[in-house]
């Protein structure tokens, strides 16, 4: 599967609410050894309906300034969720759908 395909996948909660497409993926290098290096495991996904400025670094990239741009970008974006991969219940690559566990709850804002 390709990362670009994952980025076209829509994420739904267990009760059917659409959260949006996958926007970014956190990889952690704690998998089994492949040669001399450990494999990179998909640890979490970032999901948002609209994510202006995510790639520019205004969400989890640590860019804070200029504050005007940060404000505008935040205002234009919808809620951004960072979801651990363990909360993913079902992944349908063909249908481009990801369903979360019933136990998942959005982080309090």
């Amino acid at each position: 599967m390709l990362l670009s395909e994952l980025f076209a996948t829509q994420v739904h909660t267990a009760d059917g609410r659409l959260l949006g497409p996958v926007r970014d993926v956190r990889l952690v290098q704690d998998g089994p050894l492949d040669g001399f290096t450990a494999k990179f495991r998909v640890d979490a996904i970032v999901v948002a309906r609209r994510s202006v400025g995510l790639r520019l670094g205004y969400h989890h990239g640590g860019v804070r300034s200029p504050w005007v741009i940060r404000r505008v970008v935040t205002a234009l974006s919808t809620e951004v969720h960072t979801i651990p991969w363990t909360d993913v219940a079902d992944h349908d690559p063909e249908g481009q759908r990801l369903m979360l566990q019933a136990t998942w709850k959005p982080a309090p804002s």
Binding site: R55, L56, G62, S65, P66
Partner: protein, 409 residues
């Protein structure tokens, strides 16, 4: 002492390299038509390019990466591709104008139709790119461009009423014979002539080519803070001379030769020789920069090896692109398209496209992952944000104004 000399040379190169055919045409045409009522537009443009170039140079020096490389990384391939297409097209227009400018400068000296000299100009431009080292190229054409100081000499020789000149510049009005739309259109043209995007692509790629590091930041700032404003002052001298000599005679600037008229009439044969050398250097230098920029932006977007610092055979696609754009620019010029008109279109469209590359650079200059502790300070961000707003407004106004004024007719 050696350091001082290097800095001095750097500033001189920046001054001489500042003016290109866009500045020549825009300032001369505006001076003839609007007197000094648009001098403020040059000032606004110069401050803009100082801000833009400083941020670009800083990002390039600290991250080792050039503009389009970073534009793709931060905006994603789709937006960066749109950006690339627009920038490339405008670059091509500019290159056509510069090559034609070289041919015209040669033709004014040799009394041969400039169309016949375009192929020669193109070959010379390519040869210099192929064989001349990067720094030598910058120095030679930058310093030769200082011949354009003859415009300042001519203004001084003319002996204008200085207080009136300054007063007129400081209290701009729209002349009664002109519509405010045309006034705004020419303001955009002057702005675009000062804040040329190719300059920024070239500047940033050059910084990476020359392997700038944190230590070079101060020199970069000096070059930019002193060299560019003085280059802007030179542009204003061109405007002033047009205003003093051409405006009273109701001569409009439609040909590059008309830009030289005022100098010849005030300073004589020597002045004419100086201005021709200056125009040749300015247009030739700009042709070098725009052709290299075409290679830079495409190469950086696709991740190719690029630059003059590696063997040509190690940056094959880059050199092929450079060769192709020079050929296309020359061919387009030879279709008898009006070089002054092409110049005007290129600077106005360049002004419209500025936000596309300015915005990501502004964000990057605030990203510690790229610039470390040399992040934009609050004052810098304030000025930079003001300019972002200006650029967006200019961008939105350009096409409508172009239509309303029929491209400044």
């Amino acid at each position: 002492m050696k350091r001082l000399l290097a800095v001095f040379l750097g500033v001189l190169t920046a001054i001489g390299g500042f003016v290109d055919i866009g500045d020549l045409v825009a300032n001369a045409a505006t001076g003839a038509r609007f007197d000094m009522n648009l001098a403020w537009a040059v000032v606004v443009g110069v401050v803009g390019i100082v801000v833009y170039a400083e941020m670009c140079g800083r990002v390039a020096a600290l991250s080792g990466r050039a503009v389009f490389d970073l534009v793709r990384e931060r905006l994603g391939p789709r937006m960066a591709m749109a950006n690339l297409a627009a920038s490339f097209f405008i670059n091509l227009l500019t290159l056509t104008a510069e090559i034609a400018g070289v041919a015209i400068a040669l033709s004014l000296a040799a009394s041969v139709n400039y169309l016949l000299l375009i192929p020669l100009a193109a070959v010379l431009v390519w040869l210099v790119i192929w064989r001349m080292p990067f720094e030598t190229m910058e120095r030679v054409f930058g310093l030769l461009g200082l011949s354009l100081l003859v415009f300042a000499v001519a203004v001084w020789r003319f002996g204008p009423d200085w207080s009136t000149l300054f007063h007129d510049s400081a209290t701009p009005t729209v002349p009664t014979t002109e519509s405010p739309w045309t006034y705004a259109y020419y303001a955009i043209a002057l702005f675009g002539a000062a804040m040329t995007p190719y300059e920024v692509f070239f500047f940033s790629s050059g910084a990476v080519e020359e392997r700038w590091t944190e230590k070079d930041l101060r020199i970069n700032r000096i070059n930019v803070l002193i060299g560019f404003p003085l280059g802007g002052a030179l542009s204003l001298a061109i405007m002033a001379l047009s205003h003093l000599v051409l405006a009273p005679r109701h001569i409009d600037v439609g040909l590059l030769s008309q830009v030289t008229l005022p100098v010849a009439s005030v300073v004589g044969r020597l002045g004419l020789a100086a201005v021709l050398i200056g125009i040749f250097a300015a247009t030739f230098g700009a042709a070098l920069e725009t052709s290299l920029s075409a290679g830079y932006i495409i190469g950086q977007y696709f991740g190719w090896p690029w630059g003059k610092y590696v063997r040509a055979r190690q940056a094959a696609r880059f050199h092929l692109v450079v060769l192709i754009v020079i050929v296309v620019g020359a061919l387009f010029g030879m279709t008898r398209v009006d070089p002054v008109k092409v110049t005007e279109y290129s600077i106005v469209l360049a002004a419209a496209a500025l936000p596309l590359t300015y915005f990501p650079i502004l964000v990057l200059a605030n990203d510690r992952d790229y610039v470390g502790e040399h992040c934009n300070g609050r004052a810098m961000n304030f000025v930079a944000m003001v300019y972002l707003v200006i650029l967006v407004l200019v961008s939105l106004a350009t096409i409508p104004l172009m239509i309303i004024t029929r491209a400044g007719a």
